[in-house]
Subunit: 329 residues, 2 copies
DNA sequence: CTGAAAGCGCTAACAG
DNA sequence: CTGTTAGCGCTTTCAG
């Protein structure tokens, strides 16, 4: 049905081998021959059949992005952002991208297709068994928004510490000293990092990390409202709270509104993720911007670096964060 | 490197053709033969090579989902919802899914890959040239959240009228008569439908559609705040407003808060999309739930119905909407 | 720098 | 119900 390399060969008088060369690495073919091939190809509207190419090269040119987070999907704004970067960057290459959640991958796509991918990007909390499942099949893995302790696994993470330090800095600049934190049970890696970053930054500004100003909650708004209400109605009330993510920060704002506490006059709030909801709350939420798109891009570059063995594939890449200032502080 | 059908053939003593049959349609092979094949395959950890299969069958087993909306990506919660349904449903089939935006598709993936897909789902406002580009190559198209006037194109849409009628009904039940609308310039199809649905529902409840209660704005929150402020500070102020989507509704709430107008006592608000931000606003936003996931699922079923010529592929499928009641009315 | 030819692993007639 | 066999379109030695 389609135009094949043979048609081009016939029309141009050049062998199929050379035509193949022209389309994969033009520099290996003499200028004039190349021109003849391109002319014939253009005349015939030829374009290479990727499947036949895959077949001959014994490669699939497929990579996958798995979202590894309980019940998270592409609907999660954070992972959608990463995914967006991954999609765009992948589009710039020969590779094709399969997107799935860890759950779905195991369920349906799993075994049959695992061997059809050449590399995988794991977003979020990827369990060790999942990782070693790929590694045991020699499928390179890149982690994004996750890091395995002690592991040498290539990964792309966000500079939690840099972002949170800016948040604390802003609080202190506004004269706040009693700084609290309401944070959620995210993935082990993120929960740990965010807490450590908070503690480190507080110390850096000479502030005590007081347990009485800390609360844990589930990462949903009702849970955050409850936790924040507890914090705001306690004996000693903080005058600034850092929310572990924007949802939680929105819960803090909601709790304050319900308690008649004015923001930012009586309570300053900063969130994390700089998601769409920051401009929905009233007052609007100052938040730490995480460059998800960039993380996605970089994870693809890293993975392809490994696949192409160009040496760009190891170690940890860190993406900068940036405070996005609105009206809540 | 991999185990092939020949290895299985050798071990089981069955021909490659039969093994192929076993894996594509087991019923065409006698029970006992089938068992022998499965045993040998299991022993060798054989699984079929999809690329070789594609090559032999001259099919790619690929479908695509294109998001056709200016500057929208997978980050858009609405399209992410549709995409999620598409992904899950596609995972249940043999097909592989390419996801892209219209822009990116044209730019990079475009021509080369167009001929590699067997069908395409177009989300949102797909221009006629785009549609006919696919049709001219005999690639079936399914529209989702869009409908071409006068066209016989298969499509999946949401029951805008059903949802908006419920919204107006709730307003009237609460005693509101002066009902306004702030809506945005969405895609031509959606803008048109939503306006028509509003007008029809108002008429149904015996209410006048008064231009003085209507405002248009861009679909972003600042623009909505501005439009709503104009509406709320005019000579005659509506006592209920329907927002064309949740962002706009959030802008209406924000404008009301800033003007000191109490919700829902002095102003009732209903949005559309039932997105995450509904539980972020204070008070929380009553909104029309659009079943994006279902729309995604159905569009895949429809497309595959066309590809398999099982007759399930024509006409318009309508997905029900449902009012999700919170505190803003 | 270019050509000839042998596959890549599977499927689909066709024949039995 | 099962086996034989000729491709599917491209890549890649290996010669020249």
């Amino acid at each position: 049905m389609g135009i094949t390399i043979y048609d081009v060969s016939k029309l141009s008088g050049v062998s199929t081998a050379t035509i193949s060369r022209v389309f994969s690495d033009p520099s290996r073919v003499r200028e004039e021959t190349r021109r003849k091939v391109f002319e014939a190809a253009a005349a015939l509207h030829y374009s290479p059949n990727a499947i036949a190419s895959s077949m001959a090269r014994q490669r699939t040119d497929k990579i996958a992005f798995l979202i590894c987070k309980k019940s998270a999907t592409i609907m999660d704004e954070f992972y959608a952002g990463i995914c967006n970067g991954i999609m765009q960057e992948t589009n710039l290459t020969e590779y094709q991208l399969l997107i799935s959640t860890e759950d779905d991958w195991r369920k349906t796509v799993g075994n049959a297709k695992t061997k059809q991918i050449e590399g995988v990007i794991l977003g979020g909390f990827a369990g060790t068994e999942l990782i070693s499942e790929f590694r045991s099949r020699n499928i390179p893995v890149v982690l994004v928004n996750n890091k395995v302790p002690g592991g040498d696994l290539p990964c792309v993470i966000s500079d939690e510490y840099g972002g949170i330090r800016e948040a604390i800095r802003l609080f202190t600049e506004k004269g706040h000293k009693n700084i609290g934190m309401v944070t959620g049970r995210f993935s082990p890696y993120i929960s740990g990092e965010r807490y450590k970053a908070f503690a480190t930054a507080m110390k850096e500004f000479g502030l005590p990390v007081s347990v009485k100003y800390m609360r844990m909650c589930d990462p949903d708004i009702e849970s955050a409202v409850k936790a924040a209400t507890g914090l705001l109605t306690g004996e000693e009330r903080p005058d600034a709270i850092f929310g572990g993510n924007d949802i939680i920060a929105a819960g803090i704002i909601k709790a304050a509104i319900r308690l008649g506490i004015r923001i930012p006059e009586e309570l300053a709030v900063i969130g994390c993720d700089d998601s769409l909801l920051c401009s929905v709350t009233e007052p609007e939420l100052t938040s730490i911007h995480i460059n998800c798109f960039r993380m996605g891009e970089m994870s693809v570059k890293k993975l392809i670096g490994i696949l192409d063995k160009n040496g760009a594939g190891s170690g940890t890449d860190i993406v900068a964060e940036e405070l996005h200032i609105r009206n809540s502080v």
